[in-house]
Structure formats: structure tokens, C-alpha cells
């Protein structure tokens, strides 16, 4: 790799492309030729010493030296910083030599010339000379000594023994048949063999060990249990969970179809490339295939901040940060999972160790720019799907036509109207808000037509003389109405001494001839001129306010003011022609309780009401009857289409990557229009650089960093291109990554023991030649089952696990595989094994996960109360893979046993031994329940202890063991004895 790259200069700010040598860009020498000599001399110094921090992405100290034009506020300062015996710069590495400083000075004195369009790159960051980035090349197993050939069953063994010999080591003998059987069951299915299964295998093995073994391998790989077990490994890596995490950890009730998809894919031995592609863009690449949609559950599997997306939203900085981090999670998961490369390091600066630039990173974000995590429909009958789609399309056309008509009216009306509407929109966001008590006001019954008459009246007790009446509108978010809720369009205010208003009626205000201006929640005052006294005040609505396809009359407060300004209505009796009594919000007495909404921002409320009235006025003058008719027709067609759409089945839902979904608060779908993705200096969303187009890190020859997409490409095309990038034959990482992961789960350590990081900060491969050989085989066959078969049938895998101190002195970590690694059961394996030996294990596959907690306070902020769950409940006696996985409170029993945390990608589990594990295995109610049922299963047997040992450990107890346990059982019973067996080292360790 050359240490400099060229850019296409298209516009300012530049749109750059850190391209690779020998690709489509201008050639390197062209730029160099054009470079002034002072720059050419300084370039290497800058690249080696300066630009790892002073680049466009990081701008350390606000100084950018990787591209021109370079601006130095104080040219001498830079020289000072690098000069002297203890220079401040460079921060890391060696000081500059006097000769180098002189070169820099010359360059600065010349005015820091910099070739147009050139971007310097940190030499290491662009360097693909690293084992995991080298192209895969066909190789063959090493030649080995004839005497070692006898040990070898396949080429894996040839690679292994060659290395062992090189290290002066030798393999261990083969494990006995029982150990092999037990190991094979756990390794391929995650469950212990039943005594019958073991018996069958041992019998066959006694005469034909090899064929018995190979037959068992085939049988287990064919079993559905295989997919269940290996899906668990995959879900660790993809950070799968059934709740959102963060604050108010809400349930994801539709995440499980993805989990079932993974199980199904493993069981079907789906070609790995297809498995990868489906998870990124299955919906695009295989339209109509339900798995295509479900698979994108991968993108959505990680945690998601409900509050930041739904309550805050993209209108605010915090919401935009959340969106950025949400995409970061998608990008990170994709590259860590499939390619074992830590692309996320390049969010704030170019990757410090691996060839991933910030540009690469943000291009990859652009791939996911149109998708969010949401429930998405799958599995509809294609005909219905089509109908739904065409109706949806019709609906959106109608709606946009309706909007267009509205706009046309506005244009016709008055250019001012557009402005008014824009301002109204802004005002609605702030001016609508009020401070209000829980007692809203008076609310009439609901009418079907606006002309139904409604009235409300107050009995002041005695006839009094009044100065004015004040009406104050309500505030209710119902149907998005807000201020002025239910305030009548037309009304009269009258006073009388007759409660029935038949005689002696004085008119205070008559607003029944034309529509009354929109009042918001501002008090509307109606002065009374005369001095006549009256006991009853009545407000009659003659045209009602529209609610949602129906009509109402509501008022927050009615104030009757005397000459001193005192409100005489306070607490007086209210009667009405019909009312909704729904305390505390709505009841008649609320009309005179002095509780009414106050605008949070009075100026905004005033502006809002006056503009709203202006808008109504303008509209009234321009809406001709024909236009009005058209408007009504649109409304009717929309309603009709909505009804038709509702009548169709909706399909099933999966929580997956979605560009279309039902909006929820501030969380709105892109409908396929990608959000613009910008280069963010130091990863800060407030430091916006140029907009980025979709792409991916160019990690092999001729892999383009920028995707070649048509101008009018869809968002799906972006993901589809990334999917093909991941599974490109030349991709050096994808194939190595999965082969290494598979190896890790079989052997307890990877050939590369940092399975999620194949970069320079990761571990070095112990057997690169073997890894590459297996990888090519795998890439060409695409079968994980074939890979498993290859591995477990090797002599390497079949070794005994016994220690050998002489060999351990050479290789204590067994990194060269001179023996087998004694496997400790994972949390889920242990739980499943306890269920299996107790005879409770329910093999039901698929569907919603079982919840082994009691869910409380689900409405607002769910609590997952595990300690309240009864483990006797058969609903939870399923394999652990089917467990519903909350993030905010992880399952305590499994967590103590080192289960993977669903909020991070776990490439390799921890293995610890702690006192808390001992406590949980002894005392957790689940273990108690298993002990009881295990006891029931054996106590009636003629030889309970032997049966128990066969079930739990697939062997017969020794005489000594038997007598010890028999004695204990006699004293404390079988349940206690079974509790003890489930706590044996031998139950926890396979060998």
C-alpha cells in the first residue's frame, strides 16, 4: 500500500475517496508530479509523525495536516512545537531530527503548498499487509512422517501433528467411547445423551468404533437439537434479546421469529453465503420469501433506546445522537459478526491499527441510513400482500393529492397563507402547550351533527348585576386538537331569572350568525352594558366544534364578573342539556372551579390564535364550492381505502430492520428515503462534514470503497450491495471468521483466539495454514455441517483430555492441541441438562419465548421479577434457547453461570468459578425443582443411584460412590441426593 491516496475533487467541501493504489482513481504519480518540491520533501514527515492526530477526522488542536489548503495561524508556532530538547510534538514516538525540522520549515516558509485533491493517509491505516487481509490461497496439508500418518484421520490432523512435532509435542491417545459419546452429544446438540442413546452407541462402538462414531455424528447433525444448540452460539454473537434495554426496558414480543430463523437455518444447513446475505438484505434479495424479512432481525437484534427515539426524536440533539449510535450498532454488529473487524474504531478517527478510514465507516453507516428497528410484516399470501401494497400506494397517492390540493388552495388564496401555515406549525409545537389541572372542564355529550343544540347554565343563587362574562376554552390532546378543544363555532350567551329561559331573556352576546374566531385557551370576555339583575346565565352552542368525525361543546371555565371583578360563578350549581361526567377531567362542576389551562407561553398562544383566525379568513374567501366538493371527495376516498385496507389480514410481525412502520411518538419511518449521512469530525454530530454515499471498507484488491449504485437506487439496493460485499469470494475475512468461530466452539479456543477481532490488536493465529485450508474448503462447499463433520471426525478432536505434565511444561495452554480441552457446561447447557435428567425437558420447538419471570408494571416500565416465578410451571421446561431474554434484568441464575450478556456481542464466553455459582447451583429454586423431579424419576427404580448416574453422567457408579450416596439417601431422601448429584463436578464437566 502506498501511504497516500488521491481524491476526486467534486465540490467544496470536498467529497473524497480514500482510494487504493491501482484502482480507478488517478494514479499516484500524477499527483506527485504536480506536487511542489517543498511539499514532496515534507510529505513523509507529515505522514509518519503528524497526521495520525492532525487529520480532517480528528482535528486535534484544530490543526489539519492531511489535506490542503493548510492554514496556520502562526507558522512559527508549529516549528517551535517540534523543536528543542523536550518538544511538545509529536506526542508519541520519537522527536524530529534537526534535518526533518528544516524540511518542515522550508515547506512552511514556502506557504505550506499542498497538491489539490491529495489526502495523506496514515501509512499503517491503509496497510493491508496483515495475515487476515491476505488473499485466501489454495494450499495443501503438510507432508508428515509415515509413522504419524497412522494417527491422522483427515487433513486437519496433518496440520496439527506437523505443528506438534515442530514443538516437540505429541498427541494424546483417543478418549474412550463413553467420553466420546458424551462429548459429541454436548458438542453438537448441547444435551446429554440418554442412557439408551449411550447404550446404543457403546454397543455399536464395541465392534465398529469408527463407523459407530461417524454414524452418530450424522445422526446428531440431522437432529433438530443441533440447530437449537448452534443457534445459541450465533445469538451470543449477534447480541440477541427480547427487550429494548436502556430506560423503560420494553418488551419486543416479535423478536423470536429471528431466533427461530437462525435455528432453522442451522438445521437446514443453509449455504452460509445465503445465511449472511439474508440477514443484511434478505427482504431485497428474496422478495416474497418470509425468511428474507425475518432474517433482517439480525440488524435489529441489539439494544435500542426507546426514550431517545420515541420521546425525544430526531428534532433534538439527543435524538440525533441516538440515531447515530443506533446505526453505529448496526454497522458494528455487521462487521464484528461477519468479518471479525472492529470497524467501530473508525467512528471518531481513522482506525489506529487496521485499514479502515473514517470515510469507510461513514459510508457503511449510509448503507443503513433508511432503516430503523421496528415490527415488520412478513409471511402474507403474495396476493394479499399485493392488494395491501396497492391499497397502501393508493392511500398515499390520495393523501399526497389531498395535500397538493390544499397547497393549491393556499397558493390561490394568498402567498401569505403558506407563510402563515409554516409559522403555525412552529407555533403548534410551543404555543399549544398549557399548564392545566387534571380537572379539564365541562363536556357535552357527543353529537353526530354540528347543528345539534347544546347548552350549559349557571345558577348564581340570587339575581345579581354583572359586568362581564368570560369563557375559557379547554385543552385536550385528543385527536391532536389541543387548545380550544370543544369551543363552539357559534353560540349565544344569555341571562334570565327564569331557569328555563322562557321569559325575560337578556341577550349578552349573540355569536350565532357567523363563526366565532378561534380562541385557543385565551379568555374571551363579553361585557354586559345594562344594570339589570339576573340569576341564571346560559351559554347555548348553535354550531358545535368538530372533534373526530363528531361534534361536541366543551368549556374549561365560565366566569361571571361583577363590577369589582369578582367571579360570582365560582362553585355555583351548573346544569346542562346533556354532559359527560368523567371525573376528574370532565364534569359540570369543573366549569366553575377556577381551574383552566394557562398557556405556557402566552405570546405564542396569542400569535397562534390570531394566525389561525387569519388563516380561516383567507380560506373562506377562496374555497369555491367546486373545490369544497373535491375536498370532500378526497376525504371520502381516503376513508374508504382505509376501511378496505383494514379488512385485509395484516400478516405476522417480526422485529427487524424496517423502512416502513407505524409511527410512534417521535419515532417515524423513513419510508425508504435514506437519511443523509455526514462525515462527523471526531464522531461528533455537531461537527458535520460532507455527505457520504454508501460503501464499505476496501479490504481486498478491487473491492470498491464506494458502492456503484444507480442514481435512483433504493435503500434496499444499498443493503443488497453490502450483503454481496460480505459474501464476495475474495473477501478475506468473512470465510475465515466463521470457520474460526466454529473451531472455537468445538475446541474451546479459536485458531485465532480473538474471534471478534482479526485486526492487528487481535490475537495471532496459532495455525494459520490450517485455518486457511479449512476456510477455502468451507467457502467452496458453503456447508457448516460439512465443517463440523470434518472437525469432530478428526483424531485431533477425539483425543483424551487428560493432562500430561511433560507436555504441559511446553504448552500449558494447549494452544497446539496436544490434548482435548475438558469442557465445562455453559449456563444453558447446564440448565437444559438438569431439565433433561429430571425428565421434565419439553422439546417443543419455536414460537414466543417462555418467560421465567413475573412481569410487573408492564404499562410503564416493566419489572422482570425472576424470584417470583414458580419453576414448577411446565411452560418454562423448554430448552434455554427458547427463553425470553430481558436486557435490563438478566436472568440471575444463568448470569451467575457466565451466560452471555444480551447487550454486547459475545464472541467467547467467560468461564469463571465463584462462590456465587456454588450458591446458585445449590439453592436456586429451579435447581430445587429439578432435584425433586429427578428424585421422582429414580426412586422407584431397583437401583436408584445407578439410574441417576446413568442419566446425569452416563456411567455406572463405583462401589464406593454408591455406598456413600446410599447412606446419604437413607438419611436425607432422594431429592437431597439428586440435588447433590446435580452439584457434582462431573455433572458440570463433560469429560
Amino acid at each position: 500500500m502506498k501511504s497516500a491516496a488521491l481524491i476526486f475533487k467534486t465540490q467544496t467541501p470536498v467529497f473524497f475517496l480514500a482510494c487504493l493504489a491501482g484502482t480507478i482513481c488517478f494514479s499516484f504519480s500524477q499527483a506527485k508530479d504536480a506536487a511542489p518540491p517543498t511539499f514532496a520533501a515534507a510529505q513523509a514527515i507529515l505522514e509518519k509523525n503528524c497526521i495520525s492526530c492532525h487529520n480532517y477526522g480528528e482535528k486535534k488542536g484544530e490543526l489539519v495536516l492531511d489535506r490542503g489548503p493548510i492554514k496556520l495561524d502562526d507558522p512559527d508556532e508549529l516549528i517551535k512545537l517540534v523543536s528543542g530538547s523536550d518538544p511538545e510534538m509529536p506526542k508519541k514516538g520519537t522527536h524530529l531530527k534537526a534535518s526533518q525540522i528544516a524540511i518542515l520549515k522550508k515547506w512552511i516558509d514556502a506557504g505550506t503548498p499542498f497538491p489539490d485533491g491529495l489526502v495523506l493517509t496514515d501509512s499503517h491505516a491503509a496497510d493491508r499487509d496483515w495475515w487476515s487481509l491476505h488473499p485466501l490461497a489454495k494450499s495443501k496439508a503438510p507432508d508428515i512422517a509415515a509413522e504419524d500418518e497412522a494417527w491422522c484421520r483427515n487433513d486437519i490432523d496433518r496440520f496439527i501433528i506437523a505443528k506438534l512435532r515442530e514443538k516437540k509435542l505429541s498427541p494424546s491417545p483417543e478418549a474412550d467411547a463413553r467420553t466420546l459419546g458424551r462429548r459429541l452429544y454436548y458438542d453438537l446438540t448441547g444435551l446429554p445423551p440418554t442412557p439408551d442413546q449411550m447404550q446404543k452407541f457403546l454397543q455399536a462402538s464395541a465392534t465398529h468404533p469408527n463407523s459407530a462414531f461417524e454414524k452418530l455424528v450424522d445422526e446428531l447433525l440431522d437432529s433438530q437439537r443441533y440447530g437449537e444448540h448452534w443457534a445459541r452460539h450465533w445469538l451470543d454473537v449477534v447480541r440477541y434479546g427480547d427487550t429494548h434495554g436502556y430506560d423503560k426496558d420494553k418488551l419486543r414480543l416479535n423478536a423470536w421469529p429471528y431466533r427461530d430463523y437462525v435455528i432453522r437455518s442451522f438445521n437446514d444447513d443453509k449455504p452460509y453465503a445465503r445465511f449472511v446475505e439474508e440477514q443484511i438484505a434478505g427482504d431485497v434479495l428474496w422478495p416474497g420469501n418470509p425468511d428474507g424479512v425475518i432474517a433482517t432481525g439480525f440488524i435489529a437484534a441489539g439494544p435500542w433506546d426507546y426514550i431517545a427515539h420515541v420521546e425525544v426524536g430526531e428534532g433534538k440533539v439527543d435524538g440525533r445522537i441516538a440515531k447515530n449510535m443506533d446505526r453505529d450498532d448496526m454497522v458494528t454488529a455487521t462487521f464484528n459478526t461477519f468479518m471479525s473487524i472492529t470497524i467501530q474504531c473508525a467512528r471518531c478517527h481513522d482506525h489506529k491499527f487496521d485499514p479502515v478510514s473514517m470515510e469507510d465507516y461513514y459510508r457503511t453507516q449510509a448503507v443503513f441510513a433508511a432503516v430503523d428497528r421496528a415490527n415488520r410484516v412478513y409471511g402474507l399470501d403474495p396476493a394479499i400482500q399485493n392488494q395491501r401494497e396497492s391499497l397502501s400506494a393508493k392511500l398515499s397517492t390520495l393523501k399526497s393529492e389531498q395535500i397538493a390540493l390544499g397547497k393549491k388552495i393556499s397558493q390561490l388564496a394568498n402567498p401569505k397563507l403558506g407563510k402563515i401555515e409554516t409559522r403555525l406549525k412552529e407555533l403548534k409545537a410551543i404555543g399549544q402547550r398549557t399548564v392545566k389541572a387534571p380537572e379539564y372542564g365541562f363536556h357535552s355529550q357527543i353529537a353526530k351533527s354540528p347543528d345539534a343544540e347544546k347548552w350549559v347554565q349557571i345558577d348564581l343563587g340570587t339575581a345579581v348585576s354583572l359586568k362581564a362574562i368570560e369563557l375559557i376554552g379547554c385543552h385536550d390532546e385528543y385527536a391532536g386538537i389541543g387548545a380550544g378543544f370543544g369551543f363552539p363555532k357559534r353560540f349565544r350567551i344569555e341571562a334570565s331569572n327564569d331557569p328555563d329561559f322562557k321569559t325575560g331573556v337578556q341577550k349578552i352576546a349573540d355569536k350565532s350568525e357567523s363563526d366565532y374566531p378561534f380562541p385557543g385557551v385565551l379568555p374571551q370576555s363579553f361585557p354586559i352594558a345594562g344594570k339589570e339583575k339576573a340569576r341564571y346565565i346560559r351559554v347555548t352552542a348553535t354550531r358545535l366544534a368538530e372533534r373526530k368525525n363528531d361534534y361536541i361543546f366543551a368549556l374549561a371555565e365560565l366566569r361571571t364578573l361583577d363590577s369589582t371583578g369578582e367571579n360570582l360563578a365560582l362553585g355555583k350549581t351548573v346544569t346542562s342539556l346533556g354532559s359527560i361526567q368523567a371525573a376528574p377531567r370532565w364534569r359540570r362542576s369543573n366549569l366553575v372551579d377556577d381551574k383552566f389551562p394557562h398557556p405556557e407561553n402566552e405570546a405564542a398562544m396569542k400569535e397562534l390564535t390570531s394566525l389561525e383566525n387569519e388563516r380561516r379568513q383567507i380560506l373562506k374567501t377562496v374555497i369555491k364550492p367546486a373545490v369544497q366538493k373535491k375536498r370532500t371527495e378526497f376525504a371520502a376516498s381516503i376513508k374508504k381505502t382505509e376501511i378496505q385496507l383494514k379488512a385485509l389480514p395484516e400478516g405476522k410481525l417480526v422485529y427487524a430492520a424496517a423502512a416502513a412502520f407505524k409511527p410512534q411518538g417521535q419515532f417515524k419511518a423513513t419510508k425508504g428515503t435514506p437519511r443523509p449521512i455526514y462525515f462527523l469530525t471526531r464522531g461528533d454530530i455537531r461537527s458535520v462534514g460532507p455527505e457520504m454515499t454508501p460503501g464499505a471498507p476496501p479490504l481486498w484488491n478491487d473491492s470498491p470503497s464506494e458502492f456503484k449504485l444507480a442514481i435512483n437506487h433504493t435503500e434496499g439496493d444499498r443493503r443488497a450491495t453490502l450483503a454481496r460485499y460480505l459474501t464476495h469470494k475474495k473477501n478475506p475475512l468473512t470465510w475465515r471468521s466463521i470457520v474460526n468461530r466454529t473451531w472455537l466452539y468445538h475446541f474451546g479456543r479459536g485458531i485465532v483466539d480473538s474471534p471478534g477481532d482479526f485486526g492487528r490488536m487481535g490475537a495471532a493465529p496459532s495455525h494459520l495454514d490450517l485455518l486457511d485450508w479449512l476456510t477455502i474448503e468451507f467457502r467452496d462447499k458453503q456447508s457448516l455441517k460439512a465443517l463440523h463433520r470434518q472437525i469432530v471426525t478428526s483424531s485431533t478432536w477425539r483425543q483424551a483430555s487428560a493432562n500430561d505434565s511433560a507436555k504441559a511444561a511446553i504448552d500449558s495452554d494447549n494452544q497446539f492441541y496436544w490434548r482435548s480441552q475438558r469442557h465445562k457446561l455453559t449456563a444453558e447447557e447446564l440448565r437444559d441438562a438438569a431439565l433433561a435428567v429430571s425428565g421434565l425437558l419439553n422439546m417443543k420447538m419455536g414460537g414466543p419465548g417462555f418467560q421465567d419471570f413475573v412481569l410487573e408494571k408492564n404499562q410503564h416500565s416493566p419489572h422482570y421479577e425472576y424470584q417470583k416465578y414458580d419453576p414448577e410451571n411446565p411452560a418454562s421446561h423448554r430448552r434455554s434457547i427458547y427463553r425470553f431474554i430481558p436486557r435490563s434484568r438478566t436472568q440471575p441464575f444463568l448470569t451467575t453461570l457466565d451466560c452471555a450478556d444480551p447487550s454486547q456481542s459475545v464472541a467467547k464466553r467467560d468461564e469463571t468459578t465463584t462462590a456465587l455459582q456454588a450458591l446458585t447451583l445449590l439453592n436456586n429454586p429451579f435447581m430445587g425443582t429439578m432435584s425433586k423431579h429427578f428424585a421422582k424419576r429414580i426412586e422407584k427404580q431397583t437401583d436408584p443411584i445407578t439410574t441417576a448416574f446413568q442419566l446425569a453422567m452416563n456411567r455406572t457408579p463405583s462401589a464406593n460412590e454408591k455406598s456413600t450416596l446410599q447412606k446419604y439417601a437413607t438419611q436425607h431422601g432422594w431429592a437431597n441426593t439428586c440435588r447433590l448429584i446435580l452439584n457434582l463436578n462431573e455433572f458440570t464437566y463433560v469429560d
Binding site: 434495554g245 430506560d247 423503560k248 426496558d249 439494544p303 433506546d305 426514550i307 431517545a308 425525544v312 433534538k316 440533539v317 441516538a322 449510535m325 450498532d329 472492529t342 467501530q344 474504531c345 402547550r433 405556557e600 474451546g748 480473538s754 471478534g756 477481532d757 490488536m761 490475537a763 495471532a764 483430555s801 493432562n803 500430561d804 500449558s812 495452554d813 475438558r822 465445562k824 408494571k857 410503564h860 416500565s861 438478566t890 440471575p892 441464575f893 467467547k908 469463571t912 468459578t913 462462590a915 456465587l916 456454588a918 450458591l919 446458585t920 445449590l922 439453592n923 429454586p925 456413600t964 446419604y968 436425607h972 431429592a975 437431597n976 440435588r979 447433590l980 457434582l984 463436578n985 469429560d991
Partner: protein, 486 residues
């Protein structure tokens, strides 16, 4: 607890060991050590233990520790900080004074609000930092930032780092203990004390005082139909015998013997945890010092009230002291639950007085009790107490009497182990809206760096490699706050 049993096959160790030449970091060599990563401290430690007090929901600085006369002066008037303000939920309301008066306390004369006046007794031991800035106004992320140094899940808690770095001081109690609000876990739940990519034994162990058992699975279920004390005891000895046989047949695998030892430690923990939780023998004046209620944990909490809040927080503080005495390294005490209903946390959007009042009094009684008690036992000198919350609250009103989130400035205070008492380092502006000196705020990294520094750890050197990065608690930031150190 010395139960970090590393197997001879520990791959992490060999992986790190292979890199040790090129990346000399403490974590590399000392994963081998049974206790903690460091073994040898980077510098003499002032503190050995930490108590982190966390006010879930975001405690208002301007109603507790950060006195702002301007709020009173301009109360009810439009609030204008002279720049655009984007709030989490609302639009800025009028300037809102604190419902409580502020008075001077101690020799240092620090102003404290009435709501936290019990801390006046110990204010000369406390150091205040009023210019702490956050990165987000979202609870979950703000909480994670304070507990883990990052705003997204996936990073070890500060307590886990300390446990990892220093290891345990006892062998029968966990190193990192969490005392959550019994009414529910705050945002992110157990993520706030997860070990994530550090070895799993550095995750927090939850202790629920008053619950039975206080530690999950400490004892057999009370309703167990078959486990008795005798069956338990006899069972453990049979288990030891059989497990020992199994281990002896498989020499060279230290995990197997470690597992035998883990059962012995479990039995020890049953005794020591029970003993540590038992406050019945604490004298009355000590219970009063912590503000415990006569009714005990069953005190009525139907309406939020001082008495209950004092009992809940005070009891946790008292148990914390007992755990500290018994060698627990790091204790996290929570005041306030998740954002559920009815509100029992500091997220006072609706009403500062109603919720902050009882919570602040309860917290300050318990915290003041803890500080005084540690002091009289000579333990305050090497116990660091750190008070924090996810962010502050606004100087302006929300819906009249509440306050919205303020991530732009808030308060932390520290006390004990190496902290200079009675000082204030870093001020907020006239309103308590942003730092007074905006170019020199204090960040969570600085507080964490200071904490590690006092524990004898250089925050830049306590690292673990994870996904290509040598991760540390302070990310790539952090400056020790010199002004608050004794």
C-alpha cells in the same frame, strides 16, 4: 473474595501474555494474580474502599448543593440565559426558585438547602464540584455515563474496574456490592454494575436489605420441601468427597479444585453475609444516626414521605458501613427506582418539592450518618464517598413547579479517603445552567480518574484489550481533580 480461579487453560491470559512484550500494561501481567489486576499500586493509595451514592432520575443541584441567589431574585420572571435552550420535555418556563432556603453550614460556611441540611454536620469533610457536565439528557445514557463512563451499554462499571484492578480484601463477601432501591432498578437495570468484558467475577452482587434472602440464592428456598440444615451440611461433605475424587483422577486441572473451594467459600459467605446484614445489635443511637424508622423496612410508603425515605436510604448506608468493615471494596447505593408510577425517584418534572423533599432528606440523613459513623471508627480516612446522579435540573420551571433535565451542568461531591474537606472546585454560572467557565468543565472522566488516583491507580494504565482497543474506565479522557485532594 479470592475466588478468581484462573484455569491453566485460561486463554485470555495467554493471549494477553503473548502481547505483553509489545504492550506493557498492568492488566496483562496481573490477570495471573488471584486478587485484582494490579497487585502493585501505581502510587501510594489514600483510599482503599469506595461508596458510590447514585441519585436515580437526576437530582437537582440548584435545590440541594449549588446555591443560586438569582433564582430567588428573578423567581417568576422569564428566564433568559441569553442563548437558545433545547429542553428534554418542555419549553423553558419562568425562573424558578428553590422551594427551600439555603443556609451556611460548618466552618467552611458552605450554603446547603434545607432539604439536605443533615449534611451540614459533615460539610467540612465534603468537597463539591459544581461544574460537572454530561453528554446527554436521556436518563439511560446519563446513568450509564456515570456508572460506566460510556453512554451505550457494553462497558464495565466503575466498581467492576476497581474490583478488577485491586481485587478483594476478604474471602467471604463479594468485592463489588450493589444496594439498589427496593422499589425497582434504575434505568439500564443490572447494566450499571455489569462486568461486561472484564472477567465475570467483577460484576456487582445485589444485596437487598430486608429481602429474604438478601443475596439471591444465599440459602435454600424457605419453602423447600426437602432441604434441611442437616441435609445441607451432610450433603456438602459428601459433595466434597466425591468432587475431590473426581479432581484427583484428573490431575493438572486446577478448575476442578477451585470448584471444590468455591463450595467452601459459599458456606462462609452464608455466615458472613447474614452477619453483615444483621443490624439488630446496632445500638439505638447508631440507628438514629442513620435515620432508621422504628417500623423498620416495612414503613408506610403509600405517599412519598421523609420517614420512609430515611429508613430506606439510611438502612442501606448502615449496611454499607458493616460491609465496608468486613472488607467489601466497592459499594453502590441507589436512591430512587425506575421511571415508573408512582414516582419514587429524583426525576421531578412535575413537582420538585413533593419528590425532592423526602428523597433529599432521606439521602442526606443516611449519607451524613455514614460519614459520621465512618469518621468515628477511623475509616473515613481510607473510604472514598462519591455522590452523583445522571444530570442536573433546569433553573426554569416545568409546568409551574417542576424542573426539566439539565445535562449542561450538575453537581458531584466527594468525601473521605484523600479528599480535602470544605472546598468547592468548579462553579456553575449564575443560574446553575452551565459551567461558569465553559471552557473548563469537569467531566465524569475526571471524577473517575480522581477516584482511581486516590485508590492508587493511574487511570490511563488500568486497561483491558477489547475489540482492538485497550479499554479503560476513562475512555481517552480524564484529568485528576487536584483542587479537591488533601
Amino acid at each position: 473474595m479470592s475466588i478468581d480461579f484462573q484455569s491453566p487453560q485460561q486463554t485470555r491470559r495467554s493471549f494477553l501474555g503473548a502481547l505483553a512484550g509489545s504492550f506493557p500494561g498492568l492488566a496483562l501481567t496481573d490477570l495471573l494474580a488471584q486478587d485484582g489486576a494490579i497487585g502493585v499500586l501505581h502510587r501510594p493509595a489514600k483510599a482503599k474502599r469506595v461508596v458510590q451514592l447514585f441519585m436515580a432520575g437526576a437530582a437537582s443541584h440548584v435545590d440541594t448543593f449549588d446555591y443560586k441567589p438569582s433564582l430567588k431574585k428573578y423567581h417568576g420572571k422569564a428566564w433568559d440565559p441569553g442563548e437558545g435552550v433545547e429542553l428534554f420535555q418542555s419549553t423553558p418556563g419562568h425562573t424558578l426558585k428553590s422551594p427551600w432556603e439555603f443556609r451556611r453550614h460548618g466552618k467552611c460556611g458552605k450554603h446547603l438547602s434545607e432539604a439536605v441540611s443533615p449534611l451540614g454536620e459533615v460539610v467540612d469533610d465534603m468537597a463539591f464540584v459544581h461544574n460537572v457536565v454530561g453528554k446527554t439528557a436521556v436518563h439511560s445514557q446519563g446513568t450509564l455515563l456515570q456508572t460506566t463512563g460510556f453512554t451505550t451499554p457494553g462497558y464495565p462499571s466503575a466498581g467492576s474496574w476497581v474490583s478488577y484492578g485491586l481485587g478483594s480484601m476478604n474471602d467471604n463477601l463479594p468485592t463489588l456490592v450493589v444496594l439498589p432501591d427496593h422499589r425497582g432498578l434504575a434505568s439500564n437495570g443490572t447494566k450499571n454494575w455489569s462486568s461486561m468484558f472484564l472477567p465475570a467475577q467483577h460484576q456487582g452482587t445485589v444485596i437487598q436489605p430486608g429481602a429474604n434472602p438478601p443475596i439471591a440464592d444465599l440459602f435454600p428456598p424457605r419453602d423447600s420441601s426437602f432441604i434441611t440444615k442437616k441435609s445441607d451440611k451432610d450433603g456438602l461433605s459428601v459433595l466434597k468427597k466425591l468432587n475431590t475424587q473426581y479432581a484427583e483422577q484428573r490431575p493438572g486441572d486446577s478448575r476442578l479444585t477451585a470448584r471444590i473451594r468455591s463450595y467452601e467459600l459459599a458456606a462462609k459467605m452464608q455466615l458472613s453475609a447474614t452477619e453483615a446484614m444483621d443490624v439488630s445489635k446496632e445500638p439505638g443511637y447508631i440507628k438514629n444516626l442513620y435515620g432508621l424508622a422504628a417500623e423498620g423496612p416495612g414503613v408506610n410508603d403509600t405517599e412519598i414521605n421523609e420517614k420512609a425515605e430515611s429508613e430506606f436510604f439510611g438502612r442501606k448506608c448502615l449496611i454499607a458501613r458493616r460491609l465496608l468493615e468486613r472488607g467489601v471494596r466497592f459499594i453502590q447505593i441507589w436512591s430512587g427506582n425506575d421511571n415508573g408510577h408512582p414516582r419514587r425517584n429524583w426525576d421531578s418534572h412535575e413537582n420538585i418539592e413533593r419528590d425532592h423533599g423526602p428523597l433529599a432528606l432521606g439521602m442526606s440523613r443516611g449519607a451524613a450518618g455514614l460519614i459520621q459513623d465512618l469518621k468515628q471508627r477511623g475509616m473515613l480516612d481510607d473510604t472514598l464517598i462519591l455522590w452523583t446522579t445522571e444530570f442536573g435540573r433546569m433553573p426554569c420551571a416545568q409546568r409551574g413547579v417542576g424542573r426539566d433535565h439539565n445535562p449542561f451542568v450538575f453537581t458531584n461531591w466527594l468525601c473521605g479517603g484523600g479528599i480535602k474537606g470544605g472546598v468547592t472546585a468548579g462553579e456553575s454560572d449564575e443560574w446553575g445552567y452551565k459551567p461558569l467557565d465553559r471552557s473548563h468543565p469537569t467531566e465524569v472522566y475526571d471524577v473517575h480518574a480522581t477516584m482511581l488516583h486516590l485508590l492508587g491507580i493511574d487511570h490511563e494504565q488500568l486497561t483491558v484489550r477489547h475489540n482492538s482497543i485497550d479499554r479503560r474506565l476513562t475512555n481517552v479522557f480524564g484529568k485528576v481533580i487536584k483542587d479537591i485532594m488533601a
